[in-house]
Symmetry: D2
């Protein structure tokens, strides 16, 4: 049994669903999941579909060719097909905070994440012992104002060498430049420690404390060149009160950050996220 995941978006027109589901049936597939969404304001159609194909004859390459030349062309679709046979590769970027790293590695080790982590990159050496503990190669690439360009070149080299599919910034305290972003569009996941768009930038817990909010949050989003302004994948919040000081906010926030980031990573790895207009459609 082989399985594919098909993601489509295009201008909304009548009969797309019928045409696509017919196509799958013609190819001998059985649809086991289908979800669709229409943005009526923008008139865009989105679809996520999983189909199973029995027998050994099915080739996802052939499927792609066939889809490309028929439906994709006539509906001018943007589309992607993922085969269940290929494993996604994720690179982890960290600095000094360990909570998101522990959470991701714990899940990874338990088999909860459908992906492979070939290595961890950090601008500091602090978390090397954790990487060692989990037997994951750790590259220490320091970053200063002067060395940033070279550091990113070295990072890109590693990313390409290992065939990395997407990058997770697990509280990586550096700004990633367009050099890397342009190679990984909507494929770099960041965790920001506020309920975006509130408290963009540095020290959001301090800002939240100062403003006296009664709820704090965390936001996982794709990295774009605009700071903390990329498409939001996942958010969560928790209540706070006057009795919590900044230290308490940071501590409560850590729990949000790790759960929100891990959820975003899972959604991305399961091909459940589509991006358009700087927003996400999440088929969960």
């Amino acid at each position: 049994m082989k399985k594919i995941t098909l993601l489509i978006h295009c201008k909304d027109r009548p009969n797309i669903i019928a045409r696509v589901t017919n196509f799958i049936a013609d190819q001998g597939g059985n649809i086991v999941y289908l979800d669709q969404h229409v943005d009526r304001e923008q008139n865009i159609f989105f679809m996520r579909l999983e189909a199973e194909f029995e027998g050994t004859e099915f080739s996802s390459e052939q499927f792609k060719d066939s889809f490309k030349n028929t439906l994709a062309e006539s509906f001018k679709m943007k589309w992607r097909v993922y085969s269940s046979e290929s494993q996604t590769k994720m690179a982890l970027f960290v600095s000094k905070y360990d909570h998101c790293l522990y959470d991701l590695l714990g899940r990874y080790h338990s088999g909860e994440l459908p992906l492979e982590i070939p290595f961890i990159i950090s601008n500091h050496n602090d978390l090397k012992s954790i990487a060692d503990r989990f037997n994951i190669p750790f590259y220490h690439i320091p970053v200063t104002k002067d060395t940033k360009e070279k550091a990113e070149e070295k990072q890109l080299e590693l990313l390409k060498e290992h065939g990395i599919d997407f990058i997770v910034l697990a509280r990586y305290m550096q700004i990633v430049t367009s050099k890397i972003i342009s190679e990984y569009p909507n494929k770099i996941i960041n965790i920001h420690h506020s309920f975006l768009p509130a408290f963009v930038g540095a020290k959001p817990y301090h800002s939240a404390f100062k403003r006296g909010v009664k709820i704090i949050g965390a936001t996982s989003h794709y990295v774009t060149e605009a700071l903390d302004a990329g498409p939001i994948i996942e958010q969560d919040v928790t209540r706070v009160s006057h009795s919590h000081n900044i230290h308490d906010l940071i501590s409560k926030g850590r729990d949000l950050e790790k759960i929100v980031l891990s959820n975003a990573v899972k959604l991305h790895a399961q091909r459940k996220v589509m991006v358009y207009n700087n927003k996400t459609v999440i088929f969960s």
Copy 2:
């Protein structure tokens, strides 16, 4: 432009989606919403679909006939078609608590609920002034152990006379018997003031207080003959602490009850709920 909502469930088999979407296309319809769900344990397929038909020729009766004789039969579907032309009629049953009543009537009056409320029934006279205030006929039908049977007959009479589609028990403090339930299967919506299945039966806030829970809830469900055990439509919860006494729990619970019940009423009225195996599929 005419619009229908189609709800289907049947044994899962290949190509259902393709066949149904083709059928809609053949009838000249454009699918504006489609969601489906497969319960893999039970192997049951569920689908909710909204389609628009241009022109004046479309007849939902003809559509039903055609669907019945083709797809419905060959897939042995259980199905329903709702036309946007018909208005749903809801009866309200209340006793003495007014918060759910105020909430539903406020929304009703604001045009938030896609339905009509021909009348309110109560076993007490306390809330008559509210019904008057909103200009809705109010029938006071007292219920005692001895008069219960006759009271329910009178209720049924009113329900039929007004062509009521579904009933909402807005903190109606009486148990409804099989006489009415059998006429309105999965069409009587109750609000229970606990996070079911915890605290079934009377005085759930007192039980929650005694147990020392840190979160209380409210549950809206379809009424079946088993007490507080029918299919759950909607639930919500809120935090409490040792500092809250029973009075506080009741007060906080009221806010949950009214929001949860109103949400359940909206989901039902919008034909977004399907029931099977004493559970609900909510296409929202």
Copy 3:
């Protein structure tokens, strides 16, 4: 049995609690509630205390005098004493949206709010029928750019004439100027339909939709001269997804707005809110 609520804040110093609780004991009072908070960053002490006094001899005026000349002076306290004998008076300002009005009036009528509502002011006539339905005087005071000053004078006249203690802007779509704010400092409660400080100003649901947030919120705060930047009393949030359009956001937001505003009103009326540094301490 007479009861007072005492609110204190001052520079933190040793023995404040012991001194205050001794004072209450000396006056023949029994403390039935005490909560305190120290902002260690600012070194400010806050306390809320409820005490009961048996017998008919207790006079809250005498108590105030005595407290003023002893503790209040020596600790340089800012303090207030509220007697259970006086009823708080709240004015409601509305425009065209009715959901917050319905919610507050429903609670008011049920006896849930410990206050009196002498009248409702609106710049439109749309909601007059609701005020009539609940038998509350309704003053229609239109506001245009040119008439704003005179309108506020008329509002102030009504507020003073009725001895109003605090004002609630229940989706009142006008900006209140310093003329009124200066007379009611930290006594005007607004509901803003976003999770502040995100989406300040007009049309926050439209901004939230555009940004693609996964959670929307509502915030109740005291009105200051800086737009939507006053001390936050209460916030709440709810999840949304790509499948919700702006209309859905507005509809879900309405439920947040009314619950959040009503909670803020209750906290204020129960003397549970203290304000400092543009933040609130909520003793709940």
Copy 4:
């Protein structure tokens, strides 16, 4: 600077707060935190107080003696004093699930938990590698029906030998008998994977799935001899829908379990929990 935490409960009587705060002042202490609660139904007074004492002369033993012979006796208090100088020792019991273990050890290693973990006990060997990774001694004590008594004796031996203060059952899949419970009353913290009191006992996610609930939860409580019926310390919940199968519920539940258990451990270790009438007072 030395610091103590004082926990008191006793029959509610006038002037307790004044008397206790005076006592602290007389001893040269400055109260930096005070919270109290009165259960009016049961007429019980609860207090948690933190006080700082400058200078090296302060002795917590002397303080205890003095408190015991004066206030504690005259008010017939149940009380405990914890000095900031002593470190709490926690034993971890696990079986095969690793998510709670990873979460606790990650926090432990980051310095987030104010305690020491001298060892981990398990009835299986599966998680030994994780204990090794974090350099914590791991005792494999298999438990069968026949060996249970001896196993518990061995466990007790280890607990006593290391001077363990409290035990955390981090998804330990065995029932702990009265032999251990009686030695650690209200000092054994369990995590149950449901929103108690719903779904007591085995396989709660399966029961939740079958019942069709829309929200699942996790509960951390002290272990008593009645199964899953001990005093609740912390609970949390998350939304689920028809689209989630049992595997999804288990996966979502894991995130709840680990956060809820870690929060309960922190509250207990910080001496913020008081128990009475099979309920908890949480001074947080």
